[in-house]
């Protein structure tokens, strides 16, 4: 290494790591400088809007604070209260799990199924694709308003069920059915997943299908042996984003049920919102937010672990 005496040690190491090709160190440093310059929007946002607030949030969660009077340090009391005293917290957490663990897989199954159909040579493919994606384009507020009608005890959904001799429930008014009602609403938007899935299906090399065809595989076999493995990364991606998103469900609950009846549709984020902005329990609300984070983190880790057994990576991402 003595031949590079005039180079800064850091740049030297960087150069070595980058494959050993030696270039002038100033160029390396310039590149690094531009890297940090270019990512600065993200970096500033990360520090200012995420890291800083996160640290503040940890602190607030250890206090009792109404934002008007000075915060009072209470240690872990807020966490203890959520976990041991507040029955609504557990109910909301259970409801959120119920909602997320049904709506996300259901949405994915419907999404994959529809994407597979849309990936065929269908006449009017563009039109079908649009129809199926359309619900995703309706802003949640509008969706919620329409579903207030759709889910009325004598609304169109129950009319439809009536054709099959099913006596539909009172959906939003019934504690047993209010969560399924929210899941119905989310299933209506299942077409959203088809975008990424279709674009992934688009990119599957045709030769793979040709090979399968030669082996005598029918469409079902071709789906399971070619299409599915190839799109598992996107399915996994949708699964993770879907889980994270569904654990944060808010607008639908806020507009359609306000958490009722009897908190049967109370979810973590509306609960947190109520604690913060109706009761001024900023400390408690922050603690609930961190508990939510821990739940999401744990689930994500579980999902990653589980993904090793079924997600197929053709080439590893750097």
């Amino acid at each position: 290494m003595s031949q590079t005496v005039d180079e800064a040690p850091g740049a030297e190491r960087a150069a070595l790591r980058a494959g050993g090709r030696r270039k002038p160190s100033s160029r390396r440093r310039k590149e690094a400088f531009y890297f940090w310059l270019f990512i600065s929007p993200w970096l500033i946002g990360f520090v200012g809007f995420l890291l800083g607030p996160m640290i503040a949030s940890v602190y607030i969660s250890f206090t009792e604070w109404d934002s008007f009077t000075p915060p009072q340090w209470v240690g872990l009391d807020n966490y203890a209260k959520a976990l041991t005293e507040d029955p609504v917290f557990w109910k909301a957490l259970g409801n959120t799990f119920y909602y997320a663990l049904i709506s996300v897989p259901l949405g994915l199954v419907i999404g994959v199924w529809l994407a597979n159909l849309l990936n065929k040579r269908v006449r009017g493919r563009k039109l079908f694709r649009t129809f199926i994606y359309l619900p995703t384009l309706v802003p949640l507020v509008a969706t919620a308003m329409v579903f207030k009608m759709v889910l009325a005890p004598s609304g169109p959904l129950n009319d439809l069920l009536g054709w099959f001799g099913v006596d539909g429930p009172a959906w939003l008014l019934d504690p047993t059915w209010v969560k399924p009602a929210l899941i119905v609403l989310s299933a209506w938007g299942a077409g959203g997943a088809t975008v990424l899935l279709l674009s992934a299906m688009n990119g599957i090399p045709r030769e793979l299908y040709e090979a399968a065809e030669i082996d005598g595989a029918g469409s079902w076999r071709q789906f399971w042996s070619v299409t599915f493995p190839q799109i598992t990364p996107v399915i996994f991606f949708n699964l993770i984003m879907g889980l994270i998103g569904s654990f944060q469900i808010f607008s639908q609950v806020y507009i359609l049920t306000a958490g009722g009846p009897d908190n049967a549709s109370q979810m973590i984020v509306p609960l947190l919102f109520r604690e913060a902005f109706s009761f001024y329990h900023f400390g408690y609300a922050s603690a609930v937010a961190w508990l939510l984070f821990l739940v999401i983190l744990a689930l994500t880790l579980v999902a990653f672990r589980w993904s090793r057994s079924w997600v197929f990576y053709e080439q590893e991402v750097r």
């Binding site: 531009y34 946002g45 800083g52 507020v141 509008a142 040709e210 990576y313």
Partner: protein
């Protein structure tokens, strides 16, 4: 240039259709039924929006439109006692500026992560990915207090400005997209003396349009329909976007009357149509984001 991401969809020989792509009558049947089910709420929305005040006040709606009160579409701007025109304008402003912010910042950051080498880059990228998992609610309260200190409450700034600092998901999308563009072009350009910003602006940016359009669509859709942000930050009627204004419309009718559902649904349609238009114009890019197997994994 825009076609850079297109893949050949049919084989060279135009041989017989592979089974995986054969559409059977059952395929059509399923697609028709699903489309119909997915479409019913729209029809209901349109039907209600075209019903008369009387039908609306009695809640005597039909799924198939039976009345055609087109004047509801002008009345919504005049007869609700709310500045609905202003709501629309606010939505446009917030959504457009948010999208501009995301496109500018994510393209720059994503490019840097895909192309530039620097010590610490790997760690940074792991941080980017990790932040995707953090629920916004954790930062909601401190952010609220931060914006309060900045005097931004009841302005659009809390809704718009964070977009100029991009988000992890979009950085990830751009980075994946740029990684797939061959590096020969920018190397050649660098030989010609183009700096890093020059490469970004002249070489990479022009090729990024598919992914940037997709990001613009995502951001527009999200900002246009966002409810919680405006609910927290916007206080005066004049500043509200349509998504929040619509909800106001259902809440401020007189005690003895139902909300003007017909006008609310007109509002919903106004809220929905631009999204459909944007999707229609941008769908080509959406389906060509090219996140095929292998490269889209969250690793």
């Amino acid at each position: 240039m825009t076609a850079a991401a297109a893949k050949p969809r049919t084989g060279p020989g135009r041989t017989r259709l592979l089974s995986a792509f054969k559409a059977s009558p059952a395929t059509y049947a399923v697609l028709l039924v699903v489309s119909a089910i997915f479409f019913v709420p729209f029809v209901l929305m349109v039907s209600i929006s075209l019903s008369s005040d009387l039908t609306s006040s009695q809640n005597a709606f039909t799924v198939i439109p039976s009345e055609f009160e087109w004047r509801n579409f002008t009345e919504v701007f005049t007869a609700t006692g709310l500045p609905v025109g202003r709501f629309v304008l606010n939505s446009v402003l917030i959504a457009t500026l948010s999208a501009v912010g995301q496109v500018l910042s994510s393209s720059l950051v994503g490019y840097a992560f895909a192309r530039l080498r620097a010590p610490g880059k790997g760690v940074m990228f792991i941080i980017v990915l990790a932040t995707m998992m953090i629920p916004a609610q954790i930062t909601m309260i401190p952010q609220f207090l931060l914006f309060k200190e900045l005097g931004w409450v009841n302005t659009y700034l809390p809704l718009i400005i964070p977009n100029f600092f991009t988000n992890a998901f979009n950085v990830f999308l751009v980075r994946q997209f740029v990684s797939r563009i061959s590096g020969e072009l920018d190397e050649a350009a660098q030989m010609d003396g183009l700096g890093y910003f020059g490469v970004y602006r002249r070489i990479i940016l022009p090729m990024m349009w598919p992914i940037l359009t997709a990001i613009a669509i995502f951001t527009l859709t999200h900002a246009w329909g966002d409810f919680m942000g405006p609910l927290i930050y916007l206080n005066s009627e004049e500043s509200m976007p349509l998504a929040l204004g619509l909800q106001y419309m259902t809440g401020t009718s007189n005690e003895m009357q139902l909300p003007p559902w017909n006008l609310v649904m007109v509002g919903s349609i106004i809220l929905t149509l631009p999204m459909i238009a944007i999707y229609y114009l941008g769908q080509k890019y959406l389906y060509e984001m090219n996140l095929q197997g292998g490269s889209a994994g969250v690793k």
